[in-house]
Symmetry: C2
C-alpha cells in the first residue's frame, strides 16, 4: 500500500515543482523522507510535485488520536520542527501545550487579557502549523513547585494567553524560573547618564548583505534566493536564505521576552524573484541587520552568532540549530541571565517612565503612518505627475523650436538649438524627478517599516513590565526576592527603551541628513542642467 | 418737456454711478451735455446715473429717419465721435458713413465691407457704436479716375471683402492712391544683410509704464485707471487711460496696412480694478509698448508720438487727436510713403519667401498654443499640486517631530527641532513652488500673447502682398509702374517679416534666458533652504 497523508491546511503552489493541496484531501507520498521540509507526492487531481511536510499528517496504523483531541503523531511533530514556518512572537501558539489546567487553584485572573492577538504584529498571526515548544520542561516541575511556595502570597494569573504569562515574565517573578546560566550568557544592565541601559558592546561589529543570488536544487525543480552575509568580526561570507532569517527570528523572539527583536521585511508569496521585491527585501534585511548588530544583547547571542558565522558545513549548521532550539534560557529563564546594576529603582518613577513611553509609542505609531502615507504619495506624484509636467513643458519647448526652425534666417539658428536643448533639459528634469523617490523617500519608508515593527513589539514588552509591577504593588512585603525580580524586569525594560530611543535618534538623524543631502544634490543637479541650457543662449549673440 | 433718448444697445452698469439700460428703452436725460462720452439720466426703472452717450439716440422733433434707413441725427454722430470705442482694424466700420450714396457716381463702393469683423482680433469685435472715419475724401475722386486709366489692363477685384481691397493694397497697385507725402512721412526700406528691412531707427527710445493709479471724476461717481508713461526721449511723464491706447491702436491699424501693429492686452469688462487683472494688463501693455518703440516705423509715426508726448493740455490733445483722425496717409496712401531700395526684386524669390513665412506662422501659431497650454497647466500644478505635496510632506515631518517631542531624553531634543525645522522648510518650499509661476511662466505666457496677436495680423499682410503679386503676374506687361508698385508692397512686406523675425529672436532669447535664470535661482533658493535645514542636524551631535 502506498504511503498516504492527510492534508491539514490549504497550500497553494507558488513555484514550478510545487503542487497545490487542500485541507482534508488525502495525498499519496512518494517517499516518507523530507527534503528540507518538503515532501514529494501526488494530490487527488493526479498532479505530482512538492508540498510542505508540515501541512500534512502521514496516515499510519498506530495514530494516537485519543490524546486530548490532538491527533499529532510523533512523525508530524518532528516534521513541524524542520518546517520553514517561524515562531510567532512570545510563543503565542504554545497554549496547546498547557498540560496541567485546573491543577493550581491559587491562580487569579488579574492578568486576564482576552485579546492576546491585538498586539501581535500584522502579517504574523494565524499561520497554520504549530510549533511544539517546550516551555515547561518535565524536569523542572519540582523546582517550580518549590519556588512557588516561597512567593505564596502572590497569586497566579488565570489567563494563559496573557503576554505576561506567555513571555515567562510571571513565572520568573514568581520565582519559577530555573536554569544554569553561564558567565557568557550573562546580560548586564548598567546605570548610564540617562538611566538604565544595556552594557555597551565591547566588540561592536556590522554585517553587510550582498545582492541575493538565485540558487536551485532538486535538479532545478526548486529555486530560491540566497544572500551573502559578511560580518566584520569574521570577515567570512556565509550564505543564508530568507527562511534562515525567519527561523532565527523565531528563536530570538522566544529567547528575549523584553527585547524588541526587529521584524523581518514582509514575506511575499508571489513574485518573490522579481527585482523590485528583492531589492526592497534586501534593503529591509539591511535595516534588520543594522538593528541586530547594534543591539548589545542581540548582537552577541549564540543563535545570532551561529547564524552569522556557521559556514557551508551542513552538520555544523544542524548542530547549532538544534542547540538553539533546545536553549533553556528562553522565556522566564531569560530574566535569570540579567545582571542589574546595584542601585535602587524608584517604582513610581519607573511606572511614570513606562507610562510616558507608552504614550510616546502610540503617538509615534500614529504619526509615522501619516509620514509614510505622505511620502509614498509624494513619491508617486514625482514619478507620475511631476515627471509628466516637466516633460510636457519640455516637449512644448521642443515644438516651439521646431516651429522656429522653419525660419531660414541665420540669426535664428542658435536660438532654435538653445530652445530645443532647453526642451530636452526639461524632459531630463522630469526623469530626475521620477528617479528621485528611490534615492531618498523610499529609504525613509524602509526606516519607518523597521520602526513600525518595533512599535508593534513594545505593547507586549510594556505589558510584561506592568504585569510585574502590579504583582509587586499587590504584595504586602515591600522588600525581598519578588521585589528584586521585578526590578530585574524593570531594569531590562528600561534598558530596552533607552536602547530604542538611542537607536531611533541615531537612525532618524542619519536618515533625515541623508535625505536632505540627497534632495540638495537632486536640486543641484536640476540647477546644473538649467545652467547648461542657459549657456546655449549665449553661443550666437 | 424733459429731454428723452432711445436706447440703441443694451448697457450693463459695471461700476458705481452707472445705470443699466436696455435696447429700445426710453430714458430721461438730465442734460444734453456729455461728460467725456457719458450722459446722465434716469432709466425706466427710476434709477439715475451715467450711461454711454453712444448707446442712446436723443429723441428730437427733426429726426431724419428717411435717409436710407439710417436714423442717425447729427447729434448722435457727434456723440459717437467722443465715445471711447476704438476703431476696428482696417477702418472696418466706416461703412455707415457713406453719406452721399447716389450723389457721386464716380465713387465706387470698393470700401464697402459688410463683414468687417472677420479679421478683427478676438475680444475687440461687435461693439455697437460706429465711428465716422472719412476714408475717402471728396476731393480725391478725380485723381482716382485719372490713375485708374493708366492701369486699364489690370482688372479690379470683384470681391469687396478681400483684405487686399480693404487695406488699400489694390487701390495703390492700380495707381489710385494719391496724397501729399512730406519728407518726414517717408518710410525707407533698405537692403540689409538678410534682405529688405526697415531703415534702422536713428533715434531709438523706450518707454516705461508705471503701475496704474485710480482716478475719479464727476465728484467720484466714475473712476478709471490711469497709466503713467515716460518715454526716454522726452523723459516727461504723460498719463493715459486704456481707452487712449485703444484709440491709438485703431489709428495705427488704419494707418499701416502691411505692418503688424501689436495687439493690446485683452479688454476686460468686469473686475477691471482687481489687482491681478491690472497687473496682467500692465505687463501686457509693457510688451505692447516694447513692440511699438522697437518698430522703426511705428515708433516714430505722428500719432504715436502725439500719444507719448502730449501733456495734460486738453486742447492740444484734442487737436492732435483730430489731426490723426484726419490723416490722409492711411490705407492705400500708406504705400505712397514707402521708399524702396533701388535693387531689383526677384518676384519668384519673394513669392517663395512669403510662402515660407506663411508656413512658419501657421506652425508657430499652432505650437505656441501647445506651449501656452503646457506652461499654464504647469503653473496651475505648481500652485496647487506641487505646493500641496511639499506641504503635506512638511506637515508630516512636523507630526513626526511632535511625536518625538514626547520623549524627554536630552539627546533627542536637537533632532526634534531639526525635524520640525525640516517640516517648516518643506512647507516653505511648497510656497516657493506656488509663487514661482508668477516669476517666470506667466511672463512666457505674456510673450506668447503678444505673438499670438502678431500671428493673427500676418494672414492679412500676406494677403495684401499676394494680392499684388497675383495682379502683377496676370499683367502681360513685365515692366512699368504696376511692377514698381508691386515691388513697393513686397519690399514693405518683406521688411516687416524681417522685423518680425528679428524681434521674435530677440524676445524669445531674452525671455528664455530670463526664465532659465529665474528657474535656476528658484532651485538655488530651495537648495539653500534644504542646506539650512540640514545644518540643524549638526547642532547637537
Amino acid at each position: 500500500m502506498a504511503l498516504k497523508a492527510k492534508v491539514l491546511y490549504d497550500f497553494h503552489s507558488e513555484n514550478p515543482g510545487e503542487i497545490s493541496i487542500a485541507e482534508n484531501e488525502v495525498v499519496t507520498l512518494f517517499s516518507e523522507e523530507e527534503l528540507e521540509g518538503w515532501l514529494e507526492g501526488e494530490n487527488s487531481r493526479g498532479e505530482a510535485g512538492l508540498f510542505p511536510a508540515s501541512y500534512v499528517e502521514i496516515i499510519r496504523d498506530h495514530i494516537t488520536s485519543n490524546n486530548n483531541g490532538f491527533s499529532l503523531t510523533q512523525t508530524q511533530v518532528q516534521t513541524s520542527y524542520t518546517s520553514s514556518q517561524p515562531h510567532r512572537g512570545f510563543g503565542a501558539d504554545s497554549s496547546s501545550f498547557h498540560t496541567s489546567q485546573g491543577s493550581d487553584d491559587d491562580w487569579d485572573d488579574e492578568w486576564d487579557d482576552s485579546s492576546p492577538v491585538a498586539n501581535v504584529p500584522q502579517g504574523l498571526s494565524s499561520s497554520p502549523p504549530l510549533h511544539p515548544v517546550a516551555t515547561s520542561l518535565p524536569g523542572r516541575g519540582s523546582s517550580q513547585q518549590q519556588q512557588a511556595k516561597s512567593s505564596a502570597t502572590v497569586g497566579r494569573n488565570l489567563n494563559r494567553f496573557s503576554t505576561f504569562v506567555k513571555s515567562g515574565g510571571e513565572a520568573f517573578l514568581l520565582g519559577e524560573a530555573s536554569a544554569f546560566v553561564r558567565d557568557g550568557d550573562r546580560i548586564c544592565v548598567v546605570m548610564g547618564k540617562h538611566g538604565p541601559e544595556w552594557q555597551e558592546d565591547p566588540y561592536p561589529f556590522t554585517c553587510t548583505i550582498d545582492d541575493p543570488t538565485k540558487q536551485t536544487k532538486f535538479k532545478g525543480m526548486k529555486s530560491y534566493m540566497s544572500y551573502g552575509l559578511t560580518p566584520t568580526h569574521t570577515n567570512v561570507q556565509v550564505n543564508r536564505r530568507y527562511k534562515h532569517f525567519d527561523w532565527l527570528y523565531g528563536r530570538l523572539v522566544e529567547r528575549f521576552p523584553v527585547i524588541s527583536v526587529p521584524h523581518l521585511p514582509e514575506k511575499q508569496a508571489t513574485g518573490r524573484f522579481e527585482e523590485d521585491f528583492l531589492s526592497k527585501r534586501r534593503k529591509g534585511l539591511i535595516w534588520w541587520m543594522n538593528h541586530m548588530t547594534s543591539h548589545p544583547v542581540l548582537a552577541h547571542c549564540d543563535v545570532f552568532q551561529h547564524f552569522l558565522t556557521c559556514g557551508a558545513d551542513e552538520k555544523a549548521w544542524k548542530q547549532g540549530k538544534r542547540k538553539a532550539e533546545r536553549d533553556e534560557l528562553v522565556g522566564a529563564n531569560f530574566f535569570l541571565t540579567i545582571s542589574p546594576p546595584s542601585v535602587p529603582l524608584d517604582l513610581q518613577e519607573v511606572e511614570s517612565k513606562i507610562e510616558g513611553f507608552k504614550t510616546f509609542t502610540k503617538k509615534m505609531d500614529e504619526n509615522i503612518i501619516v509620514v509614510n502615507t505622505s511620502i509614498n504619495e509624494f513619491g508617486r506624484k514625482q514619478i507620475s505627475g511631476f515627471k509628466k509636467e516637466y516633460q510636457k513643458v519640455g516637449q512644448s519647448f521642443k515644438l516651439l523650436a521646431q516651429a522656429f526652425e522653419l525660419d531660414q534666417q541665420v540669426y535664428s539658428v542658435g536660438l532654435n538649438k538653445a530652445i530645443s536643448y532647453t526642451g530636452e533639459s526639461y524632459e531630463a528634469i522630469g526623469e530626475y524627478f521620477a528617479d528621485q523617490p528611490r534615492q531618498d523617500l523610499d529609504l525613509i519608508s524602509d526606516l519607518l517599516d523597521i520602526y513600525k515593527g518595533h512599535l508593534a513589539n513594545f505593547p507586549d514588552i510594556i505589558h510584561v513590565q506592568k504585569g510585574a509591577l502590579t504583582k509587586v504593588k499587590d504584595c504586602p512585603k515591600k522588600e525581598g526576592e519578588l521585589h528584586d525580580r521585578c526590578n530585574i524586569i524593570s531594569f531590562a525594560t528600561l534598558a530596552e527603551i533607552q536602547h530604542f530611543h538611542r537607536t531611533r535618534v541615531r537612525d532618524f538623524r542619519s536618515q533625515m541628513q541623508y535625505h536632505l543631502r540627497q534632495q540638495i544634490s537632486f536640486f543641484q543637479k536640476i540647477t546644473a542642467k538649467l545652467e547648461d541650457a542657459l549657456q546655449r543662449y549665449d553661443d550666437d549673440q
